[in-house]
């Protein structure tokens, strides 16, 4: 490879902002866009958090009558959708992706900074449209985050007037935003790496984000298409998803549509979506674990191939969400099999994390605590996933709290823990200051233990048959043992505590920004490229005059015979003297 020539990187023109607006609001700097994504995602995530606490109060103390059934269903829907799409997807790809990819690959910026800037603003628009749902007549949709027709559209479902429209419109806009961002991430990873940076030298964070983006670009189209078709069903009376139906005694003007088609399209998107959230988390966790174990990640190549394999397999397992939907009876066998196969690469990753820790010199820093708790939580959620992947076990458990426990563990709590850990890990690079360690630890233990107290008992609630998405469990569930009612009270109280404790983290973010201890350029002693920038925080263009040259992978920790306990990626190989 010619040393001198970096085909497009060197000729890249960066915009040079002059006013406050172009510097902080319409900035084309990937680091600023990352922060914008992050702040917006956290803000909207807080809305979802408040909704979840309100729901919990309703579940445990229905006699307080704090909300109507409609409000409950709307809260479920908004909570689920915000958490999955507008918080997790946006944060892991929009914030981590934007920040990490150029820095870790040694690029000056994303390949198309202008499109990247647009991506954030379109995302912001989608969030606003989503929230407008609370102000339109009838409120937001209460159809559940899966939005299954026909009930999404029929009378009696809250938000069937306007809420469903704002929801679908917001999703469509989000997909446009995601596509603009995603094309950037993919192009940057594939075409804008620096000298010496091969794909197999990239940190796993970049690999995870890259695979997730790839999944997103191929999976979101299915959601986009179903959103369009449902909007047409709703507004101009087509019958794509709507069968002939009698609703509230009235014969609707629909006929011959196929509700199952929506479910298939939705889950053709929905299952990869789970991995869009999980794969970046896998990547970030791998890096945090390796840095804090002061060991190279065990089986790097296998980790990469496992990411790829999971990504591919995730496109052929979607109907495991539909075992009780009345689909083709042979599908149960097919999709159960593929689902169980996907456990193999996933298990490989878990083993490799654990083997990385084996006999390591573990530093229990706050990011490491989050990373370790992720592994634990993910194992637990993954195992219940194996239960649900088997048709015969899924049939009685589906739509019970067992499912709620499963998905909160595996795609709710686990990636959130990674987000906390990741922010903590990169905060010094983003702001030049450390987050407060004590607040970090307090927040970690409350959140970690709290979520276990919240979700662990839910498995049991599921076994005794507590149905999911029920507004009032007292009326319909006199058959519960009294213990279950107490359990619900405990869960709610802890959920309130955990919810409130999130303010600690936000306080920490704000406080440390102004008062935090000044950070050294590489406080964790990490080897990957983002810690080698000439300035901290890196300036626009990241690398000063010349791009770094990469000589090794990102995991040279505790190499024998070396004076430091890590070797940065841009340090030349010592010629064998």
């Amino acid at each position: 490879m010619a040393q001198a020539e970096i085909p497009y990187q060197e000729s890249m023109e960066l915009s040079h902002p002059h006013s406050w607006w172009t510097k902080y609001w319409f900035s084309q700097d990937h680091k600023v866009i990352a922060v914008q994504y992050g702040i917006t995602a956290i803000a909207v995530g807080l809305v979802a958090l408040v909704l979840s606490d309100l729901m919990r109060i309703q579940i445990a103390f229905p006699e307080w009558e704090i909300m109507s059934p409609d409000f409950y269903y709307q809260a479920i829907t908004m909570h689920g959708m915000i958490m999955v799409i507008y918080l997790l997807t946006a944060f892991l790809l929009g914030a981590f992706g934007n920040f990490c990819i150029p820095l870790m690959c040694g690029a000056r910026d994303m390949a198309f900074p202008f499109v990247n800037m647009l991506s954030y603003h379109v995302y912001l628009l989608s969030v606003l449209i989503l929230l407008v749902g609370y102000f339109v007549p009838g409120g937001p949709t209460g159809a559940g985050w899966t939005l299954y027709p026909p009930q999404t559209i029929t009378a009696g479902t809250p938000g069937n007037e306007w809420g469903i429209t704002t929801m679908l419109a917001s999703l469509a806009v989000f997909i446009v935003a995601f596509t603009m961002g995603g094309l950037n991430y993919i192009t940057t990873v594939l075409q804008a790496r620096t000298r010496g940076m091969t794909l197999m030298r990239m940190p796993l964070t970049v690999w995870g984000i890259f695979m997730a983006t790839f999944l997103g670009l191929l999976a979101f189209p299915a959601l986009f298409v179903s959103a369009i078709m449902m909007l047409l069903d709703k507004w101009i009376g087509t019958s794509f998803f709507m069968p002939a139906i009698v609703s509230l005694g009235e014969h609707l003007e629909y006929s011959g549509g196929q509700p199952l088609l929506f479910q298939h399209l939705f889950w053709f998107f929905g299952h990869p979506e789970v991995y869009i959230v999980a794969l970046p988390a896998f990547g970030v966790v791998s890096d945090i674990i390796s840095v804090n174990a002061r060991k190279n990640i065990f089986g790097y190549r296998l980790m990469v191939w496992a990411l790829v394999a999971i990504g591919i397999l995730s496109f052929i397992v979607w109907a495991h969400h539909m075992f009780v939907a009345g689909m083709h009876p042979f599908f149960g066998f097919f999709f159960a099999t593929t689902t169980l196969i996907i456990a193999v690469p996933t298990a490989i990753k878990v083993y490799n994390w654990i083997l990385t820790l084996w006999r390591a010199n573990v530093r229990l820093t706050v990011p490491m605590l989050y990373a370790l708790s992720f592994v634990l939580t993910f194992i637990l959620g993954g195992i219940t996933g194996l239960f649900l992947g088997n048709v015969i076990i899924d049939v009685p458990l589906s739509d019970t709290y067992f499912v709620v426990a499963h998905f909160h563990m595996v795609m709710g709590v686990a990636p959130i823990l990674v987000i906390f850990g990741g922010i903590y890990h990169w905060y010094p690079k983003i702001t030049g200051r450390m987050l407060n360690d004590r607040i970090g630890r307090v927040h970690f233990w409350i959140t970690f233990l709290g979520t276990y107290i919240i979700y662990f008992p839910m498995h049991y609630l599921g076994f005794i048959g507590t149905p999911r998405r029920y507004f009032d469990n007292l009326g319909v569930s006199d058959f519960y043992p009294m213990s279950a009612h107490y359990l619900n009270d405990v869960i709610t109280i802890v959920a309130l505590v955990v919810g409130a404790s999130q303010l600690l983290y936000i306080y920490n973010l704000v406080y440390s920004y102004f008062r935090g201890e000044k950070a050294s350029p590489n406080p964790w002693g990490a080897a990957s490229l983002e810690w080698c920038t000439p300035q901290t925080p890196p300036e626009h263009g990241n690398w000063g005059d010349t791009l770094p040259t990469v000589h090794r992978w990102a995991y040279d920790y505790s190499v024998p015979g070396h004076d430091k306990d890590f070797i940065a990626q841009n340090e030349p190989q010592r010629s064998p003297a």
Binding site: P7, L218, P243, A244, I245, V246, H251, L252, E253, Y254, S255, G256, Q258, L260, L261, H264, F268, F315, I316, A319, G326, M327, H328, P329, F330, F331, F334
Partner: protein, 116 residues
């Protein structure tokens, strides 16, 4: 080198252009000549794939790209084949259940549409 891009003799383009017209005419012929059943579907698909193949290969220059790009673009579409194949299964089954529950006459709608 890179900015030189995809430069090929104009002759190729004219040839493909011509072929596209021929294939389109072929598809019409299938319709006009009134082929039915398997023969019709087979011919339509063949002409469709030929046209698509030439557009992608020559007009979009895929033929001259390096295999790294060709594979990266073509392989993911296999997911779509899986989706298509499985949905065809599913649709057959859904149709069968409709006939089963709503009447033996396959041409009957479950509930007649209510017109405006």
């Amino acid at each position: 080198m890179a900015s030189q891009g995809q430069q090929h003799p104009i002759k190729v383009y004219f040839l493909v252009w011509f072929l596209l017209f021929v294939f389109s005419a072929g598809s019409y012929y299938v319709d006009i000549a009134g082929f039915e059943g398997m023969a019709r579907w087979f011919l339509i698909l063949v002409f469709m794939l030929l046209k698509a193949g030439f557009i992608v290969a020559v007009f979009m220059h895929m033929k001259w790209e390096r295999p790294a790009l060709i594979l990266a673009i073509l392989l993911p579409t296999l997911f779509l084949l899986v989706l298509m194949y499985l949905m065809a299964f599913e649709a057959d089954y859904a149709y069968a259940t409709r006939v089963l529950y709503f009447g033996a006459d396959p041409n009957a709608v479950a509930l007649p549409p209510v017109t405006h």
